[in-house]
C-alpha cells in the first residue's frame, strides 16, 4: 500500500518531445510492444519484470460532463488503484491459483498500441509517454468482442540498461465499461 502522491503522469507543457526514430523513441516502442505481446500471451510473470517496485498504476473513473467541465471528467476513484505489491498479488492470483474464475477460461486479448508520443522529463533517464490502446477481449464462445479504448500516460525509467514502468495512468474512453470486470491489465 502506497499512500504517497504519485508522480503526475502527463508530460509538462514545456517538456521536450523525443524525436520519432531516435534511439530512445525506438526503445520506448520496443518496450510497449513487448508489454502488449507478453500480456496478450498471458506471460504475466515476464510482464511483471518490466515493472519498477515504486510503480503506481491507476485508471480513474470518468463521467460525462458538459464542455466547460470536460477537463474534470476524471474522478478520484479508480477502476484500478494499485501499486507494485498489489499488481504482483493480482498476478499471483491469476497464475498461481487454480480458481481465478474471472480469467479461467482466459480471455483472448489483443492490445493495439499506437500514437506513441515521448517527452523528456526533469529527471534524466525518465520519460513521459502517451500512447493509445485498443483492447479487444474475447472469451469462451462469444462471437463478438468486448472492447476498450484508452489513452495511457506512462513514465518509464532507464535503469541498468533497460526501461522499467513506474507510473501508468489509464484514461479509459467509456464512462460505463462494456466489459464486466477488468481482470486483465491495460
Amino acid at each position: 500500500m502506497s499512500i504517497t502522491k504519485p508522480t503526475p503522469s502527463r508530460a509538462g507543457p514545456n517538456a521536450v518531445e523525443v524525436m520519432y526514430g531516435s534511439p530512445v523513441y525506438s526503445q520506448v516502442m520496443q518496450f510497449l510492444n513487448k508489454e502488449a505481446r507478453l500480456l496478450d500471451h498471458r506471460e504475466l510473470r515476464a510482464w511483471s519484470s518490466m515493472l519498477a517496485t515504486d510503480l503506481v498504476y491507476t485508471a480513474p473513473v470518468r463521467s460525462t460532463r458538459r464542455v466547460e467541465g470536460f477537463h474534470e471528467e476524471f474522478g478520484s476513484i479508480g477502476h484500478f488503484d494499485d501499486d507494485y505489491n498489489s499488481i504482483m498479488s493480482r498476478i499471483d492470483r491469476l497464475v498461481g491459483t487454480a480458481s481465478a474464475w474471472s480469467e479461467d477460461p482466459p480471455s483472448r486479448t489483443r492490445r493495439f498500441v499506437t500514437n506513441v508520443t515521448v517527452h523528456e522529463t526533469e529527471t534524466p533517464d525518465e520519460y513521459a509517454i502517451s500512447s493509445y490502446l485498443l483492447l479487444t477481449r474475447n472469451r469462451a464462445d462469444a462471437k463478438d468482442y468486448k472492447q476498450l479504448s484508452a489513452e495511457r500516460l506512462d513514465r518509464l525509467r532507464w535503469t541498468g540498461g533497460r526501461f522499467l514502468l513506474f507510473r501508468r495512468e489509464i484514461l479509459v474512453d467509456q464512462v460505463v465499461l462494456g466489459m464486466p470486470n477488468l481482470a486483465v491489465f491495460l
Binding site: I3, I77, N85, R93, T97, S99, V176
Partner: protein
Amino acid sequence: MLVEGRDKFQKDPVANLIDLENREVSVAALHDRDLYELEMEKIFAKGWLMLGHDSEIPNVGDYVVRLMGEDQVIVARHSDNTVHVSLNVCPHRAMHICISDSGNARAHKCIYHGWAFRPDGSFIGAPIEKEQMHGTIKPKSELGLKKARCQVYGGLIFATWGGEEAMTLEEWMGDMKFYYDMLFKRTDRGLEVLGPPQRLTIDANWKTAGEQSACDGFHTLTLHQSLLDRGAMVGEAGTEHEKAPAMYGVNLSANGHSLRCIPADTSWSLMAKNPQKDLTDEQRLELMPPPGITKELLPQVKKNLTPEQLHVFAKAPPVVGGMFPNVNMLFIFSPFPDGTLGSALVLHTINPKGPDHFEWVTFFFGEKDASPEYKDMMRQAAAQGTGTSGVIEQDDSDTWPHMSESSRGVIGRTETLKYQAILGENRPADWPNKAKVYAGFSKDDCQWEWWVQYHKMMTA
C-alpha cells in the same frame, strides 16, 4: 412459452415461477421480458431505491443523474439545501433535461426548446415569456418535472415513485434500520463518497446479483477460493475449508433486506492472526475497531449508537449484505499484500437494463472525520478488492452472465434456483430482538427472504 402473456401476469404474476412451499424459483424468472416490465412497475416504481449520497452534491445547485429502474432522475440540491429527486424527462416533449452525469445549475434549461426548471423540479418558464409558449391550458405549477418522494438517511439518498401513501423509508427498512444505523449513522458527521462511482455493464438479469446480495455467504468458499487459497480471506490453503470459520456468524433479514455479521474474534484471528478471547465489548472495540472505524472515531461511535447496538457492533459487526431490491454492500476488513490490514466501505447498486443486462454501480465510502491518509488507504483497498478490477468481485461478475444464458434455453429455464439449505431462525441469548436472526453457518435463509419480498411486491 412458460409464461403466458401479460394479462395472466397481471392477475398472478409469479405463481408459475416461485414455489413457496419448496423454496424454488424458476430459472425462467431470469429471462422473461413481460415479467421484467412488471418488475419495473411493481418493484422499481414502487419501492425505495438508493440513488447516491448527499456528499456527492454538497453545494446548492449540485446535481447527479441516477437511475430508478430504467428511468433517469436528477438528484439535486435546492436553494434551501434540501435534496430533490425529479424525473429527467422534459414535460414539454420528453427531451432529457440534464445531459451530463453531474454538475451545478441553479436552473436546468432544456436544450430543445428552453423550458427551464429549478433544482426542486419546479417549472420556471419557457423562453419569450410574453408569448406563453407553455400554453394557457395548464398552470405553471402543473408543468414541473415529475417528482419522486425523497428521503435522506445517514447521508444516503433514497427515492420512491410510491408517493405519499407509500410506506416511509423507516417502515421500508423495518427492523434492519437498527443494524444499518451501525454502518451509516455511527459517527457525528457520517460517511462521504471518496469520488464518483465506477460503472460497468454486466450481461445478466438484475436478480442474479440481487439475490446474491442477500447474504450468499456460501459462494465464498468456492467462487472466491483463489482468495482463500492465498490466505487473503479465510480458511486454510489446500483444504476444502472444512473449518471455514468465517462461514459462522449471524445473518439478519427483514423485508427482504439483509446483513451478515461476522464475530469480531473470528475476523481478528483470521485477518490479524492474533486470536483474542473473552474480551469485553469495550476491549474488543479498542483492540479491533470495526471496518472503517479508527480508534479516534470510537468516542463518536459510543455516543451515536445505543448500548444494544454497540454490543452487536463490538461482538459481531455487520460486514456484508444488501437492501432490497438492488443494493449490495460490503463493510469489510481487507488485508494488503504487504500485510497491513485495510478496510473498505462499498455500496453497489444493480440497475436493470432489460432482462439480460444490468449496470453495476460501485460507490466507495470513508468516514468524513477519518484522516486523508486513512481515506486514501480505504480507496485503494476498495478498488483492489471490489468493483471493476476487485479481486473479490471480478469472479462474481463472471458468474451472473452464465445464469442468464442458462435461462435462454427452453429447457434451461425449466430448471430452478433452490433455497433449501435452511438454518432456521435462532437468536443468541444476548442478541437484540430485531429482524429475523439466523446464527450459525451461513445458509439460504436470507436469500429466500429476498424472494419472499419479491413475491410480495410482485403480487401486491
